[in-house]
């Protein structure tokens, strides 16, 4: 926990500082728990993209437990709030691996959220756990997307299966699945082109890729990971729902938490879709991928 914190704090600049001081002020400045304090808490949550409805619900829960536990100290209120949020986020939820190799992960999400970068980082981290990894360049649409993945592959010395631009992504996945089977590779990470969740045909294309995986590795895919940009607002909920409909998302990777956005929308997501957050991205480097720890996330909201 300390690790992430210092890392995050390292990366914080002036914009964030003002905000932190302000929030600290809420809890240490005020002498007693009153309506103003609740209102300010509401403000903090909304400004972290938690969303109006979820915010009101959290505040309601807080009021209830304040009453029940007879809390009167604003500082304790802060801890209580974090606890509520941690509870809402559920348990830590590590990646799932196949009982018998290969493990196959499908990575999906809208355009520009960080799918390819995350795959690069994840490849490195799996490799450092002693696993052999292969990448599949399933983004055959965006210009130079395969080249981008290939460079990430080189950075950690991991192979990349690719075809030419415009090729059928399901065919790339098929090739890669054959390759992991014949080469006895432990984990296959399949990249996909970014797509907006309201594009029906593109979502169907994803389902097709998933079917190919299911056919070739019947126990897979072992994770379908939706990459979410932490700067996204309430639309993220819609993203989760529609991707879930198309490919049964099993986990979320929340990227760009090194910025000033807090990614509070994942709280709303827990209320509405119940997809656990598994990993977070905190930079553009090879090592900037971390497990998602609910407690830490709650702390960061009020950091």
């Amino acid at each position: 926990m300390a690790g992430l914190f210092s890392k995050l704090k390292d990366k914080l600049g002036k914009t964030r500082k003002g905000f932190i001081e302000k929030v600290e002020g809420i809890f240490t400045g005020a002498g007693k728990i009153d309506e103003d304090l609740y209102e300010e808490l509401e403000e903090v949550l909304i400004q972290s993209d938690v969303g109006v409805n979820t915010t009101l619900e959290i505040i309601e829960m807080l009021r209830k437990s304040v009453k029940e536990k007879k809390i009167s100290d604003p500082v304790l209120l802060k801890d209580e709030m974090k606890e509520q949020i941690t509870l809402l986020l559920g348990e830590e939820n590590p990646l799932h691996f196949a009982e018998k190799e290969p493990t196959v992960y499908l990575i999906v999400g809208v355009n520009g959220v960080g799918k390819t970068t995350t795959i690069g980082k994840l490849a490195k981290s799996l490799q450092s756990e002693g696993k052999s990894v292969l990448l599949a360049a399933g983004d055959t649409f965006r210009a130079a997307a395969s080249e981008q993945l290939e460079i990430w592959g080189q950075r950690s010395g991991v192979g990349v299966i690719r075809q030419s631009e415009g090729a059928d992504p399901a065919a790339v996945a098929y090739d890669a699945l054959q390759a992991v089977k014949s080469r006895n590779i432990d984990v296959l990470l399949i990249d996909t082109a970014g797509r907006l969740h309201n594009k029906v045909n593109l979502m169907k294309e994803l389902s097709k890729i998933k079917k190919v995986i299911e056919r070739e590795v019947p126990s897979g895919p072992h994770e379908v990971l939706l990459v979410l940009d932490a700067t996204t607002g309430q639309n993220a909920i819609q993203q989760v729902k529609l991707f879930q409909e198309a490919v049964d998302v099993t986990g979320i990777i929340l990227t760009k938490l090194d910025g000033t956005a807090k990614g509070g929308v994942v709280l709303g997501i827990q209320r509405e879709a119940k997809v656990p957050v598994k990993l977070i991205g905190i930079g553009e480097g090879l090592d900037d991928l971390r497990p998602f720890v609910p407690q830490e996330f709650a702390d960061a909201l009020f950091a």
Partner: protein
């Protein structure tokens, strides 16, 4: 989930008990403002921006005379809409063109916002307007970013200036020389995505700015951005002094409140909107329409304009006549499909119809179905198109083969055609044939219960003479 419900619907409900006319009271307005606040926040307008806006609207609304033709709810909507347009700006804004070429445009923004794609789209748009643009590849950090720009440049036949991984400041500087030497009148500089709190990289942008003195520094902002949009826009604006904004990924289903936030904190106009992944999916930004979208009121204006552009008046008249007499043929059916398709992706057309926005969340429009329908009708003989009743099994088989579909597909289309005809019977009895038609896409099967109810009941301020 109580996803965003149309604000107009909510306000109407709030004011239901208020039948009488007269002045808006403070209590009425306060209640209405609660809904407005929630609506704006759910649309991702920044908290502080909402606060200011609501205060302003409230001040204006209390004591306001309710116009003869409006209900109190509508009156409040009108004020809200006007104030948002006030903030958004009412008019489109153009690019600054330098009298002394090249005009230099610099694109900046966070990672993944869409700078590279929009650089190419902009170049393509300018080229179509007769300009001779060149692109400069200053993103030396993201793997294969230069290659991406080069591939796009090749696609649109626009030169790309690059010095590999050399310093971005130097690349920008030399790209001006390149433009001058090669007679390029517009230079578009693509820069790497960066966090607004990364001082080193923000300083790099200032250095580029000082060396090339761009005429336009445009911030590319993802339309799905949440509350943080204000921090980002403010930081880039303070560092560089922005001239405008490009709002990307507006073809999604986000309400796009970030547009309002960014405008409010920078004062910069939003000049363009990205509406798709294709290279020509770039539009001049219409602030007034965005105001309606954020409020969930249906982008009526866009629809009207598009309809006007694409719909031949005379044909419309003929069609109305036919609808009245209920003698529409499959030929007309095909015509209508083509008309609709000319207006852009069907989902975006339907989204612009008031009351449809919400339903679209549940209704999936499948463009494939339209392709199929077109192919099927095109495989019919003229006689079959005029009198679909003659199409029996053997003809169905032939048509299916000719259009690369199945007999079931042909049967389904014929059924939809019959349903459409039936629906016209109802429609022809309705004055103005409003949005009613819009809810029953030929997709029929998937339109869902909600679609029916909302679509037909709603009165639409304009005529929409489409059978579906």
């Amino acid at each position: 989930m109580a996803m965003f419900e149309g604000l107009s619907e909510k306000l109407q409900a709030t004011f239901k008990r208020l039948r009488g006319k007269g002045k808006l009271t403070e209590a009425d307005v306060t209640e209405a403002m609660r809904e407005v606040r929630v609506a704006l926040l759910e649309a991702d307008v920044n908290f502080k921006v909402v606060k200011d806006l609501v205060a302003k609207i409230k001040e204006r609304a209390v004591g306001h005379e309710v116009m003869e033709s409006l209900t109190p709810g509508q009156q409040v909507i009108k004020i809200v809409h006007e104030e948002i347009i006030n903030l958004m700006g009412a008019n489109e804004s153009k690019l600054e063109i330098s009298p002394k070429p090249p005009t230099v445009i610099m694109l900046v923004g966070l990672q993944g916002a869409g700078k590279t794609t929009h650089g190419a789209k902009l170049a393509h748009m300018l080229k179509k307007q007769g300009k001779q643009p060149v692109l400069a590849a200053c993103d030396i950090y993201r793997p294969a970013a230069i290659k991406q720009l080069q591939v796009l440049g090749e696609q649109i036949k626009v030169p790309v200036f690059s010095l590999g991984q050399d310093s971005p400041v130097k690349i920008a500087q030399e790209s001006i020389e390149f433009a001058r030497k090669n007679g390029n009148d517009t230079l578009i500089i693509d820069t790497a995505g960066r966090l607004h709190i990364n001082e080193e990289l923000m300083d790099e942008l200032t250095n580029i700015k000082e060396k090339v003195e761009p005429h336009e520094i445009l911030l590319v902002v993802d339309a799905m951005t949440g509350q943080d949009a204000v921090n980002v826009a403010e930081a880039f604006n303070q560092q560089l002094g922005l001239n405008g904004v490009i709002l990307s990924k507006l073809d999604g289903d986000t309400r796009g409140g970030a547009a309002l936030s960014v405008k409010a904190v920078t004062g910069c106009p939003i000049k363009f909107a990205g509406v798709g992944e294709k290279i020509d999916a770039l539009e001049v930004f219409h602030p007034d329409r965005m105001a309606s979208r954020i409020l969930g009121m249906g982008d009526v204006l866009t629809l009207i304009e598009k309809a006007q552009q694409n719909f031949d008046e005379k044909k419309a008249k003929e069609m109305e006549e036919k609808i009245r007499k209920q003698e529409i043929s499959l030929e007309d059916f095909l015509d209508q499909i083509k008309q609709l398709r000319n207006m852009g992706p069907l989902s975006s057309v339907l989204e612009m119809i008031p009351g449809m926005g919400k339903q679209l969340k549940d209704v999936q429009i499948d463009e494939n179905e339209f392709n199929k329908a077109e192919a099927i009708i095109q495989s019919m003989t003229p006689e079959e198109r005029k009198k679909p009743l003659v199409i029996k099994d053997s003809r169905k088989k032939r048509i299916a083969r000719g259009s690369g579909t199945t007999i079931q597909d042909v049967g389904k289309l014929l059924k939809q055609y019959e349903q459409t005809k039936k629906m016209m019977k109802q429609l022809s009895g309705m004055p103005g044939m409003g949005g009613g038609g819009a809810s029953s896409a030929p997709k029929g099967s998937k339109k869902g219960k909600k679609g029916k109810k909302g679509g037909q009941g709603k009165k639409s301020p304009f005529k929409l003479p489409f059978p579906f």
